[in-house]
Symmetry: C2
Subunit: 268 residues, 2 copies
Amino acid sequence: MQFEFDVATRLVELGDHRYCGEIQSGWDINGNANGGYLLALLGRAMRTTAGRIDPISITAHYLAPGRTGPIAVETSIVKQGRQLVTVAGSICQGDREILRALGTFGDIAGSTSSFQYLTKQPPEVPPFAECLLRRPNQTESIVGLVERLDIALHPRDSAYFETGQRSGQAKMAGWFSFGDSRPSDTLSLLLAIDAFPPPVFNIDIPPGWVPTVELTAHIFGVPAPGPLRCQFVTEVAQHGYFQEDGEIWDSSGQLVAQSRQLALLPRG
Amino acid sequence: MQFEFDVATRLVELGDHRYCGEIQSGWDINGNANGGYLLALLGRAMRTTAGRIDPISITAHYLAPGRTGPIAVETSIVKQGRQLVTVAGSICQGDREILRALGTFGDIAGSTSSFQYLTKQPPEVPPFAECLLRRPNQTESIVGLVERLDIALHPRDSAYFETGQRSGQAKMAGWFSFGDSRPSDTLSLLLAIDAFPPPVFNIDIPPGWVPTVELTAHIFGVPAPGPLRCQFVTEVAQHGYFQEDGEIWDSSGQLVAQSRQLALLPRG
């Protein structure tokens, strides 16, 4: 059996670090391919070029919306190190570039370092069954992504989608897992970090689309089996921009990923 | 009069978005050019190519140490938008690429958005005069950078440099200003975000060099005149990597920059 995510990120190698693939339907938000899905697609090509399994640090700049249909992916090795390999990558659709990325890849499980320091706690989230599972009919817009994923929101964060009431705090927390039970790995973390509704939906921003300009993910561990505990927070919005920090924890209590993105406020 | 920082980031345009310049002495840490200085050098080239003044979001991957001497800088426009311009950039020294970057540039002061949201407070730092001004003779190593900059550390953070005692908390806070009183702008924020000692020096990591793999800066405002209040914190170190989050506040209480970098723990 093939999991949906693996089919949706399948690429054909053309040689010379070039690939072709397809943005599949059902990974979109109102017709625009989800930013995390696009990052995972490009990340899969880049890690193949790198010959290293884990995207230790990857940054993408979002240039244009991605639509269902064929894509061309180009990658190149920036630096071939012994431990780490840095790769540049790009997705084009038709004659338009939609995503440009830069990433450094390695092998987290192969690390021999035993030093650990952690000042954060996993976010407080009620058990999966007590959270609100996002489903297409619970929002007015058509969100393809929520048919593929089991995103269960903290009841407080879900208020906006249920009642139209905003919590007043730019935070979204909850659980992430695949609808078809695909296990998480360091590639699918790139999808997870952009799969939740923007936390600014919980504050009184002008209504509208909040396009991502840039997203950086740092992967700190290989996720253990089970749903992922996720939290996304916006700390600052000003001059037309806002940031959003994400963190993903696995079922063993390990912080497996951090993310930060910069996005545009609606022009209101 | 020319300020040192402006001289040290001077570039000659060669056409076709190529530049030549020089890594100047005195912006190093034990002979390796400071990562923030390199980012400012490349950022200056990239913003020239972009035709936009402010590095809204810039990410660099550090490939090799930079040494005093000539450099070649190549840039290219990834996307020319109406408001934002995305640019790729690279610094080569001899036949070796030392820095690769991707950034989106804009004009913060030209923003017409009045929406603001901020949940953070400026870090608690004693007045400049009560902080410990870093000077070359206060450390055992030769740090060229501290001759150019007035970095005044929170007394608690300074303990390691004074007495060899670590605070036990991976935090560094204090003030940043130029020794020759150059005003801060959005370009020099790229220097400031990597000018402090790593906060992990305050915890019991194995001794050694902590090379930056990747650094991302987000610029949220044009700094008002006066010293900058800065704080750098590491929240997670594991599997041989650690992250470091920075924030810079200006004298008017405005958050002007956030940064996050990923670096390597000493192999110890």
